[in-house]
Subunit: 467 residues, 2 copies
């Protein structure tokens, strides 16, 4: 009798697995087909990139992007679409920067720089000083005040080319850009030039955020990124002639915070409307290109997830939200605000997925979750295999969804192929033409498939079955 | 005693596995690092693409590419470098093609076409006729002589966008291009226009090989590819006005076969010099772009495999050959010749790997081999995982190495990400700027790693251990 019961249980488990599994396979097929043959993500990105353009927090572009995204989400026919107010910093680059290297004989060579986001301006007529090159903060400390004071510190540690995941190479370098000025100020430096975070040698400077901590305005020194080609040039010239001078001029300015918005759309859950699942990217971008990869791609892919669910007639059990976060690049105010309000309202967020690593061919996801949930995900691998999604690892998710983390929920990040990302990241060539339609659409479909599974099976389902 | 012996055996197996495994991991690291930080593949491709350019069999470009490749391989310091003579077809496009659609009111619209490789010319003043649109040979047959005779057949079946592996979408369409004329001739057609094999909508016609079987010259009809945008236009205009005419002019010509060469380099094996392993790509390309992806990438990656082995001081047990095949695109004479001579000389070819799917991020390999060898490969998966190489499937290898197949050897094909491949394939935008340095270098390293393993462990090793 016991055996009989067990057999029935086993048999029903097999049946339901096969049944579920067939349904899921069919649904995956529908999702990818809809995205690849009749998707909206590429057209949306075309508009966002080419008709709106760059969208730095507080800019007209950001304002227009908010209005556009709300309008487009309303057209999709979601249950709710709204704007969540959030105060954001407003930093403006001003006129194009100008810089040159001056040899000790007085010959000048123009180089390509751009102010780092948040930097102060140089004096109106520019800043000229001798240069010390360092590769890390230890070298800077070793030089000390004696050799740094009154000079420009030139950080020139390149991204490590033999790291396969380029975000690791970025992680290994970005402290030069973010904290470089703060460290250099300790030793009396009067300016900072940072090698662009770029694995290629080319002529484009790459901007990005930097910090002065809580130093008073009077102590802050101007900071700029220099193209990788010009970083090589400056380094070579310094070796030949340590007394060369570097001149740069930038008139960027930090204004008072201004009002902006996260754009949110929701399909309300049919069974558990008070359980929330978020998919998102950030609507703001740096000001040099049009932010197509960073993070226009994540924005339109996230919008596409909800549009695909609607188009395919999937009625989620849980409430699925698309959140287009404002101000990821220089403040994370949008992500912080969304999580704060969710907490205040006691909204239970089970799951949040961010796409903020470019619109390249999706390779998989990284998950910030318990082992039990990760095992649940591994059980879904076979569903993703026909779509060449193989990468499932534990790790970070995305900056904007980060503040939603609890002990039990799941944060995830889409992981596209990263080889080309830093060719464009925060530079003037982060533009629509650098995004491939199919690669973008595959990402949107892959995100939709994961959202579909977590909505259908919930979080921690595997453990529930075992208990 | 038996237990004791078994334990020792088990212990030594574990030890040797761990030992081997550590060594292999370190070697993989060296291989990828050397390719990504100090590789030659990208510089080589720059020269081949931008200083030599397109290399259709029998062209001056092909001749220069042969001389260049031989010279570069000699610089690498291989044990032997030589040219293998092979007679190849010589087809010349001639002046740029010209085509227009003429409405029944006499208005003309210019469209973008290119002659298919091997096609005959139109009459010197061009060819003008009414058009019938079909999507496959069944539709053509159904129309029959009554509706086809004296007309131009327009094949307009698009590549299927929801197939994830784009080579499958290509496989599902390419019979229109290859056999389209042969089929249309049966029903009295006087010309053929084929929708370009391209997943995007753009203005570029994509050439490629076509056949007339053994039809006499007098029966052959001119065939051309039309850009996807213009295929859409032609289709729309036909629906509005079935009596429109299509005009095209091309003056391509097939000449007598000419002498060319496969370029071969070898590192002679230290233990089994008479066992051969081949790595290769094809040196010829179509004439419209500069053949950077098809197959400049495969050429320089294959050269880089042997260079990396040398640079890293790996002395292979078996003889490793790089073979740069001539005439893959319109005849496969090089691949056929190489296999014929190998057979005549009784050379035992254990393994052959081809790279001919573009210089994009490598995803893995497909293997044409026994289940035993495939299991051997699967045992190596963990070594490739840190390099994000996940795709190991049984399947085809490459056209050039195909003729080397035996019952016991291993043929393999590098499988890069395929999403962008057909944007460039056989078109004027298959150019150097479309190749990413890191993606190309990762492919070369991945190939080197596989060659290293097969050389070290041999083929069928797993079965040998079991026996």
């Amino acid at each position: 009798m016991k055996f009989f019961k067990a057999s029935i249980l086993f048999f029903s488990l097999i049946c339901s697995t096969v049944l579920f599994s067939q349904t899921d396979e069919a649904m995956f097929k529908n999702i990818y087909k809809a995205s690849l043959t009749n998707g909206k993500s590429y057209d949306w990105l075309n508009y966002l990139s080419n008709q709106i353009g760059s969208r730095l927090s507080g800019s007209l572009g950001a304002e227009r992007a908010v209005a556009w995204a709300k309008e487009e989400l309303e057209k999709v026919g979601l249950d709710k679409v709204w704007l969540q107010p959030v105060m954001v910093p407003k930093w403006v680059r001003g006129a194009k920067e100008y810089a040159y290297i001056k040899s000790s004989e007085g010959k000048t060579t123009t180089v390509n720089i751009c102010a780092l986001g948040g930097s102060v301006a140089t004096p109106a007529l520019g800043l000229k000083a001798k240069v010390v090159e360092v590769h890390n903060f230890e070298e800077l400390e070793a030089l000390g005040k004696a050799q740094v004071e009154g000079k420009i510190v030139f950080y020139n540690r390149p991204m490590q080319a033999d790291l396969i995941q380029t975000f690791e190479a970025y992680g290994g370098c970005v402290n030069q850009r973010y904290q470089g000025a703060l460290e250099a100020i300790k030793y009396g430096a009067i300016g900072v030039i940072v090698r662009s975070m770029n694995l290629r040698l080319d002529d484009l400077p790459h901007t990005g955020s930097m910090t002065y901590g809580d130093l008073p305005i009077g102590k802050r020194i101007p900071s700029a990124a220099i193209s990788t080609n010009d970083a090589e040039l400056l380094s070579t010239m310094l070796k030949l002639d340590p007394s060369i001078e570097f001149f740069f001029r930038q008139n960027c300015k930090q204004f008072k915070d201004v009002l902006s918005y996260n754009v949110i759309g929701e399909i309300t859950g049919s069974e558990f409307p008070n359980e929330y699942m978020v998919v998102g990217g950030h609507l703001d971008s740096w000001d040099l290109g049009d932010g197509s990869h960073d993070d226009g791609a994540g924005v339109v892919q996230s919008m596409e997830v909800l549009r695909l669910l609607k188009e395919l007639g999937i009625k989620p059990k849980r409430s699925i939200r698309v959140v287009l976060f404002m101000n990821e690049e220089n403040g994370l105010r949008g992500g912080t605000k969304y999580a704060e309000e969710a907490k205040q309202k006691g909204e239970k967020h089970l799951f949040a997925l961010e796409s903020d690593a470019g619109g390249f061919t999706p390779r998989g996801f990284s998950f910030d979750c318990t082992d039990a949930v990760f095992n649940q995900v591994l059980g879904w691998r076979h569903l993703f295999k026909p779509y060449l999604i193989h990468f499932f690892e534990k790790g970070g998710s995305g900056a904007d969804v980060g503040p939603l983390k609890t002990n039990t929920n799941v944060l995830a990040g889409l992981r596209p192929d990263s080889q080309r990302y830093f060719d464009h990241h925060h530079a003037s060539n982060d533009t629509f033409d650098a995004v491939n339609k199919r690669e973008l659409e595959l990402g949107a479909a892959t995100m939709t498939a994961l959202v579909y599974l977590f909505d259908k099976y919930g979080v921690n389902n595997v453990m529930a079955l075992k208990n």
